[in-house]
């Protein structure tokens, strides 16, 4: 099982090549560049033939695990199936330069305008920008709108962003980056926002509240109307973290819940692949009072043509080059057009059904700290299994040996030893049944042979890494001996 795998640099043989450039039909002009500006040596890059290079990456890919390999119930990440047709269609725009005259790229602009319109309908917002490149980037952009809104009104004392302690780590980090002070509030015993804590937290310094609904516990925030009222009456705005939107499409909309601004993760809810960590896309939706602050350019209709309007004096500016991760946007657009309204609702319903199914089947074996109807994900803990000397991490590693990607672990922070399971709608009943059996099997083994659980994973090319040494003596690049 265990095996090291050579780095591409360790496969290099001088003089080999995999590239194939046409002969240059213009005379060399390197001498036009003064010698002082030119490097003395060639870059130290590996030299391989094409077949060896292809095998290197193909075999590397076999040391990886994606949704196409198996069940990936990584909570908060919505690892649903990534439809192949979308992968086929997105590259059709590969040759379009982003700085064409708008008359030359009406197709791209029309697709984006359509996408903005559909996202408004799905979320109950008044306008969308597709510019942010990822969820956290969307958060930052959305918070910039809140900041601009208060600044524009001369309400400069509103410098505090309230963030529940159950929030994703990106929430407080984005708030800090947007220049806010972060005020964390404790969650109520049921995992929701503690209304008294919120009332005590708001004041003339409140810029807004960041909220995920369903929460990071996978529970719908039943007091959402009261929360919106408290924040709005205090003069703040309400930010919706769209990481969990997959639970509610076609059922309820953030805009109708009272949120002023939100982001979506197209790489979660709208099926675009996560690419092993990106590229994603994090469109931001706003209510009408925040439209003046949206990033430029805005796509607008003018004389029967779509144009890019940069003339928005109150805009926060730009938060990325060009218009966003267009290739990702195309895939998400294809997904929405494939499913339509009924399909999106069906996706959400089945995501919620699958999560509740798994939660119910695990009851009695694992502990469910907030045991009520969950939304698209559920949070469980090892409970009494901890008495046998195992923890959440051990259980995760044991799952790897059984062919599953583990759930998100140790998050949300407010649940001790949390395992956050998000099956998504993509999974069949038998996949869920088999997963539940695997979880039960692990629980049995914990009681009979805990040392085997501690040894997991044994089926992977490498064992548990020494992370402490990795951080204390960081080796972050290859060096020839």
């Amino acid at each position: 099982m265990r095996s090291e795998y050579k780095l591409i640099f360790e496969r290099s043989h001088e003089g080999r090549r995999a590239y194939d450039l046409p002969e240059c039909d213009a005379p060399s002009a390197v001498c036009e560049i003064p010698e002082e500006y030119r490097a003395d040596n060639d870059l130290k890059l590996p030299e391989l033939g094409e077949v060896d290079l292809v095998r290197h990456y193909t075999n590397l890919s076999r040391r990886n695990f994606g949704v196409d390999n198996g069940f990936y119930p990584l909570g908060s990440c919505t690892m649903k199936y990534n439809p192949k047709i979308n992968e086929e269609l997105a590259p059709m725009f590969d040759e379009v330069h982003p700085l064409l005259d708008p008359a030359m790229c009406q197709g791209c602009l029309a697709l984006m305008a359509d996408m903005e319109h559909m996202l408004c309908e799905i979320c109950g917002m008044d306008a969308f920008t597709l510019q942010p490149a990822a969820g956290a980037h969307g958060e930052l952009t959305g918070l910039m709108h809140i900041r601009a809104y208060h600044e524009h009104r001369g309400d400069t004392a509103r410098t505090t962003m309230i963030v529940p302690d159950a929030a994703h780590g990106t929430n407080p980090a984005s708030a800090a980056m947007a220049g806010f002070k972060v005020k964390e509030i404790k969650s109520a015993p049921d995992g929701g926002v503690d209304l008294d804590a919120l009332r005590a937290a708001v004041g003339p310094d409140t810029a807004g509240l960041m909220l995920t609904n369903p929460s990071t516990l996978g529970l719908f925030e039943r007091n959402i109307k009261e929360i919106a009222k408290i924040v709005h009456e205090a003069g703040g705005l309400l930010y919706y973290d769209g990481a969990n939107l997959n639970a509610i499409m076609g059922v309820v909309r953030p805009g109708d819940m009272g949120f002023d601004v939100m982001h979506i993760n197209l790489h979660k809810t709208f099926s675009t692949p996560h690419g092993g960590g990106g590229p994603g896309s994090g469109p931001v939706g706003v209510k009408s009072h925040l439209i003046p602050f949206m990033p430029v350019p805005r796509i607008e209709q003018k004389d029967g043509m779509l144009t890019l309007n940069y003339d928005k004096p109150d805009s926060i500016g730009k938060i990325k080059s060009f218009y966003g991760n267009f290739g990702v946007i195309v895939k998400a657009y294809c997904y929405i057009r494939s499913l339509g309204a009924a399909g999106l609702k069906e996706a959400s319903e089945n995501a919620v059904l699958n999560a509740n199914y798994v939660m119910n089947k695990l009851r009695g074996v694992y502990e469910i700290p907030h045991d009520r109807t969950c939304m698209h994900e559920c949070v469980v803990t090892p409970g009494e299994l901890m008495d046998y000397g195992v923890n959440t991490s051990d259980i995760a590693k044991a799952l790897i040996d059984r062919g599953y990607h583990p759930p998100t672990i140790y998050f949300p922070l407010i649940v001790h030893e949390a395992m956050m399971i998000e099956p998504t709608e993509s999974e069949s009943r038998e996949t869920l049944d088999e997963f539940v059996e695997a979880m039960k099997g692990i629980a049995e083994q914990v009681k009979t042979d805990a040392s085997a659980i501690h040894a997991a994973p044994v089926t992977t090319p490498v064992g548990r890494p020494d992370e402490v040494t990795a951080a204390r003596k960081p080796i972050v690049k290859y060096e020839e001996e």
């Binding site: 590239y19 002009a29 870059l43 725009f93 780590g169 583990p406 992977t460 064992g463």
Partner: protein
């Protein structure tokens, strides 16, 4: 209609009954009734795969492009070796999440470690992160690195950075409460070194591009020296494809090197996804934002790759994190790395040399026309250059009539041209003929 849900109606009902529910509505009973949607979403009707393909083809046909391209300005058309997109389509890579579980993610983690090594070799620096969104956000993050490292809020930047990069930096700087000072461009088209020296007092450092937005090669060593003399940090924003020939950031003393990796095997794709790369000296490694892959061992001593130095990151430090970045552009980073490994040292040199050759040949032919002048004739350039000409807009239109995308018309009336290894000299002649006709419509009649 499809939702990619495998379970049949019957199976779903059985599952519902299994957990003591009767209908899908029961699942949503925690949602207040008055908030629930009363009617279906108003979206276009669902499409079959065939209809969807037709729809997207329709958008493609609405675009009018496809002819010769002479435009760069932040997005470049280069040779993309077939193996790069093909290998990136290994679904073990592209359908994976961030490699949180190292044991089952060694493929991605090792690819990332290799990418970081490639970026270090391109820039000559000690450490690279696993990417940020694009070149512009790399510049914004670099600005925050300068602030954090020097604990100063004043930052200088060259006016010859790409305007999109400057706009993004300003957006981030406003929120971070930074004071950005723009350093003007001299009549030679490069950053004014004297202005850098004059403004460095109290500044954390300076960011300049090479080649800069106007294509000019900057005297980076002199800029770095000026910034260092005032105890500041120097950030080089570089076009990675130029590094096959040009001096690398570490050669001229840059503390941080950043840029957009799009030229390294990524398609133009109407502006994204691209990849922002960031590299720094060892001293600044812990100021880098975002994911970093590192090497360690397992209990048996096998070499293992993991995400490391996570104490900088948002999921640990929350509001004290060095950045909020979580998802980055991992797959694009891997593609850039694959590209560099396909090209190797010789290919990287050759492609850079071809860019220089083609751009200089195009410049020679254009400036041979009456009324066309190089704006910065005494300054060396890489694969872009600015010309001054009467009525650039008219030329742009005339070329567009022949499906040619000419140089970008600048707000000041100049034109920013780009030639890469993808252009050929026949195209140059054709373009020059068209421009000649536009400038002197009667010329051919006599």
């Amino acid at each position: 209609m499809r939702s990619y849900v495998p379970n049949t109606e019957k199976e779903r009902l059985e599952m519902l009954h299994d957990i003591g529910m009767n209908s899908m509505d029961d699942l949503f009973r925690d949602i207040p009734e008055d908030l629930k949607l009363k009617k279906p979403l108003d979206l276009p009707k669902p499409l079959s795969e065939t209809e969807l393909r037709d729809l997207i083809h329709g958008f493609v046909y609405m675009n009018e492009e496809g002819g010769p391209l002479f435009r760069g300005a932040g997005a470049y058309r280069h040779y993309i070796p077939s193996v790069v997109p093909q290998l990136a389509m290994r679904s073990e890579f592209y359908t994976a999440y961030t490699p949180y579980q190292a044991e089952m993610s060694q493929g991605m983690l090792q690819s990332l470690f290799e990418y970081q090594t490639v970026i270090c070799r391109l820039t000559g620096l000690d450490a690279a992160n696993a990417s940020v969104y694009d070149g512009a956000t790399a510049a914004a993050e670099a600005m925050l690195m300068l602030r954090d490292n020097k604990r100063k809020k004043k930052i200088l930047y060259s006016a010859a950075l790409n305007p999109d990069v400057i706009t993004v930096m300003k957006t981030y700087a406003h929120c971070a409460g930074l004071e950005l000072v723009e350093i003007p461009v001299t009549d030679k088209g490069v950053t004014d070194k004297a202005a850098v020296a004059a403004n460095m007092d109290g500044a954390a450092g300076c960011i300049a591009a090479n080649p800069n937005y106007y294509g000019c090669i900057e005297p980076m060593a002199e800029l770095a020296e000026t910034v260092h003399a005032a105890n500041g940090l120097f950030v080089a924003y570089v076009n990675p494809i130029s590094l096959g020939v040009l001096k690398r950031p570490a050669d001229y003393g840059a503390d941080i090197a950043i840029g957009d990796g799009q030229p390294l095997g990524l398609p133009m794709a109407f502006g994204g996804p691209y990849v922002g790369f960031m590299a720094a000296t060892k001293k600044l490694m812990r100021n880098l934002p975002g994911r970093i892959a590192g090497q360690t061992t397992d209990a048996e001593g096998n070499r293992v790759f993991v995400l490391t130095l996570q104490a900088r990151e948002q999921h640990i430090r929350r509001e004290m994190a060095s950045s909020n970045i979580c998802s980055n552009q991992m797959l694009c980073a891997i593609m850039a790395s694959m590209y560099c490994c396909v090209m190797g040292p010789k290919g990287m040199r050759e492609v850079a040399e071809q860019n220089i050759a083609k751009a200089h040949e195009l410049a020679k032919k254009l400036t041979a026309l009456d009324g066309v002048k190089l704006r910065y004739p005494d300054t060396p350039f890489f694969n872009e250059f600015v010309i001054d000409v009467e009525d650039a807009a008219e030329i742009d239109k005339a070329l567009a009539n022949y499906s040619i995308t000419g140089g970008l018309v600048l707000p000041d009336g100049g034109m920013l041209w780009c030639a890469t290894e993808m252009n050929n000299t026949e195209e140059f002649d054709f373009v020059c003929d068209l421009i000649e006709d536009t400038l002197d419509p009667m010329g051919g009649e006599e």
